[in-house]
Symmetry: C2
Subunit: 653 residues, 2 copies
Amino acid sequence: MVLGRPFRSDRLAHTLLPKRIALPVFASDALSSVAYAPEEIFLVLSVAGLTAYSMAPWIGLAVAVVMLIVIASYRQNVYAYPSGGGDYEVVSTNLGPTAGLTVAAALLVDYVLTVAVSVAAAMSNIGSVVPTVNHHKVAFAVAAILLLAALNMRGIRESGRAFAVPTYAFLVGMFVMLGWGFIQIYAFDTPLRAPSADFEMQPEHGEILGLALVFLVARAFSSGSAALTGVEAISNGVPAFRKPKSRNAAVTLAMVGALSVTMFIGIIVLARRTGVQIVEQPAEQLIGAPADYHQKTLIAQLAEAVFGDFSAGVYVIAVVTALILVLAANTAFNGFPVLGSILAQDRYLPRQLHTRGDRLTFSNGILFVALAAMAFIWAFDAEVTVLNQLYVVGVFVSFTLSQLGMVRHWTRLLRTETDSAMRARMRRSRVINAIGCACTATVFVVVVVSKFLAGAWIAILAMAALYGLMKLIRRHYETIARELDLQAGDDDMVLPSRNHAIVLVSNLHLPTRRALAYARATRPDVLEAITVSVDDAETRALVHKWQDSDISVPLKVIASPYREITRPVLDYVKRVTKESPRTVVTVFIPEYVVGHWWEQLLHNQSALRLKGRLLFEPNVMVTSVPWQLNSSARLRSQPPRPEPGDTRRGFLD
Amino acid sequence: MVLGRPFRSDRLAHTLLPKRIALPVFASDALSSVAYAPEEIFLVLSVAGLTAYSMAPWIGLAVAVVMLIVIASYRQNVYAYPSGGGDYEVVSTNLGPTAGLTVAAALLVDYVLTVAVSVAAAMSNIGSVVPTVNHHKVAFAVAAILLLAALNMRGIRESGRAFAVPTYAFLVGMFVMLGWGFIQIYAFDTPLRAPSADFEMQPEHGEILGLALVFLVARAFSSGSAALTGVEAISNGVPAFRKPKSRNAAVTLAMVGALSVTMFIGIIVLARRTGVQIVEQPAEQLIGAPADYHQKTLIAQLAEAVFGDFSAGVYVIAVVTALILVLAANTAFNGFPVLGSILAQDRYLPRQLHTRGDRLTFSNGILFVALAAMAFIWAFDAEVTVLNQLYVVGVFVSFTLSQLGMVRHWTRLLRTETDSAMRARMRRSRVINAIGCACTATVFVVVVVSKFLAGAWIAILAMAALYGLMKLIRRHYETIARELDLQAGDDDMVLPSRNHAIVLVSNLHLPTRRALAYARATRPDVLEAITVSVDDAETRALVHKWQDSDISVPLKVIASPYREITRPVLDYVKRVTKESPRTVVTVFIPEYVVGHWWEQLLHNQSALRLKGRLLFEPNVMVTSVPWQLNSSARLRSQPPRPEPGDTRRGFLD
């Protein structure tokens, strides 16, 4: 036996990303969450009225601390697992398949919610400056999701710039706003006032005290934790970084952490200084507000306070915020197929998801994300606050399990490592990951307890359903593998003794002639042509033409009084296989290859059906002999379309 | 060359229908239209107020006369064209393809409108006794259409009884109602009063005189002509009748005519005697009606007048009326594929519609009818009166052209016929058809003029669109036929000199072994196995297993750094065909045959995609080597499902 040399077929140029491009490509999700996380803290606290507002900076500080710990932890992941498998790989490797699958389910649900929350938040921000969008928020959000899905299904040629421009614009916009705001307040002593600062705020249900207040603070903290979402995206992207990959990824991670924490704290402090009042029920809680008062987003209110009459500034902030949020939603459309491909490799999802370039399955994934996100948008009225209740659970499931896995990882390595410097470093990493684990586990418990009834149960239910589905898929593949792995030696392995070739004929034209020539080239023991007589006159004409031609293959006519094609052919083939069981029957079907989908509707349908049914017959092979119609040339020369997520895997123009 | 003897494959028992079953199977559409046609006359006349009502019996009489003429005309069709081709066959044969296609387009639009009008009328009748249905008429109508479509797509086992029970129940119900009503009035001198008789009716826009009144009468007549719809159904069904087919069909036609005219006239007269007042705008036109007055259907009002306190009678009438109307809608679901198959034979519709048993295309037809009917229902609020404006145009297009065709038919036959008795009979038939043609042409003009702006233009537009589409399909088939009919002798006809077989391998399991054995049985000049290395570890394991096995076929590994399957294989095959252009490459693809649709999602997807792409390569054959998984046994033994329209083609249990 000779093994041929590997035959390579490289067409895609793999370009590695410099940090300045990797940051926007991977961090838009993480950075964009500061657009809604601080607002959520204020919204939750508003239930208890103005006094509770004073706790906001402390809650913000707690979130920031957790964020820094998580960032520090993920820097360890990036060094330990440079393959980009992300949390799923870390957890599967260290905690086993059950924990791994739990993380996978959590991440999949998260992708859907990322789309829903980000698009809803984007529409709220646009709605703050364009009232029409605010009045039809659900419709605009659904339209945005449809547009994103269409772009991704169609295959947008992604470029680093497409990510870089909105991300850097957002960063610049936010820092200009915060910087100019603080300069006015602290350097020029100009007291900035948000438009909502003059209303009198009332608690929603009277005064809140004791345990209820603790619970409220916990909820505010949980809601603010939404700022942490997206951090793990960078650990999935390590392979796309320039060398030294892990180091560059770790540096980028640190940069994202620094930027996020600065913006997050900055927004909260500025909100306190400008007196922004943002509540769950503006109509009831804000005394003094006009009847048609429309509560703008926190970012928009800050922009108004800072830029005042300079309304272009307010518009720019709203637009760049919306843009980075849409980019964050797009992240999920890209991330879903990547995670899907890894899960498919482990047979938790349909096998073909594993291979690149199967547009159909990619499209199905995108369609799934889009439909699910639209369902959430529709069910919760595109309200960021409500969607946020579902959002954070999944993130912290994967944070906690991932950090636990990392602790195990270091413990395992420490067992064999002897170099003392390395051991010291591993110990340090283990301590960081252990702190990360303890911290995220605590937050997870706080999140589940404080948000369970408010919506987290829906996310948990969805995760459980996905978990069950993937388990079932895996079990199915295992069953099939066992079925196919039987020992050889039974009937099926006996070499067939005869090859009986049947060419299916509907008309005596070029495709039929080619099929006959090809069939003859396989040198079968028997070669015959058969035609199904659906229409008497046509059949008679065909037989005459056949007799007048130079074809020496006999033509059999199969009667079909009820104008069927499939069944008569099937019966005939069955009769042949029954007569000589060691014969393999090869059915040659001339097929038209067409260039437009609508042509496919007009041709081949009977052949397709027949092929499908013939496959059920044992000892039958079905051979398509294609005839390329002129219109098919169109498709033959078409270049492959780009895949969603190309950029984040380092495929660039 | 030897022509094999025809091989028969008969499974369906073809049972011919006795007249008592044929009547309900074919005439439900024709009979059911008396449920709404008389009401439409009153509704249109109501615009001019009570005085115009007195014209109703005369208009009814005119409609009845036209109906009898049409029935007499179609009796000639039935004798002349016993093949069941119906109007399309008659017109195509005698007036050429353009006129034929016009009739076809008219009939297709008619099928859709039959569903819409019948279901809307059914819901109005049910709504007369169940107010909930009346309040959500559109929703209930859509649900009914969906149910009908689902039943037809799933394949209901039709039986004569399913048609007979509702049809005869309707006939009995109507004759009992009319009979008991007239007995009370004329024999017992009991004056029957409809509930709406006591209101004072006002004309809608003041008094109507002169030309406007003529126009109104014309519209009332056009609307009443809806009673004629469905007559041509019997002429399509001649082959399903018992012998003498034509005679029995003609007798059935006469029976349908007698029954329809009797009921039609009976309803109108009884309506006048009981003083039913039915108007287009009940809230404005009926003085004295309560604020929440709900105008019931004419049939329901008559039932109330006749049965009075015996409310069970009212319910029964409403239910049997609704049932026969639903049955009439079902007629369209059955008739559409039958006409479609004839049009497909002439290449005006996708070719595969011609063959029976292609469930997929049948389903598409049903889906098309259902969606279009639902669109009409939704657009016109399930209002029978409005839908009726669109309905009658198509019917009279086919009536007129069909009768004109028949006149031509007799003229042609008379040219060669010498027997004088036959000549006399033909002349008589020609006179009947000529009268029919003149009569229906007149009605057609009246219908178009009086209804054009009220909605008929929509139906005409739809017909034109269908006509254009079918023309385009036909032209496409002709282009392809020319392309395939080139003279032999060019490259493609040269017998390939070598057969290079490639077996696609993903794993060394039973399906692969079978594929190798089968490939060897075709005795190719070159036989090799190739595998695409998507995952390094897996590929290495496969290569080792291969080396350890007893397989002597060399295994080539194709590198695929970007985890693609299709492109590397395609490139490899292209290289082989380029190296030796006279070689035909046969790619053997082991395929799993599964028993559930969801299993199909989990298997074969990559293979399917690859097959699709390989077909575009010249000189390549693609052979599927099926491996029947255990689950596939489920499907192999499944009996074929019944087709919609089985009964009307004479397939009975």
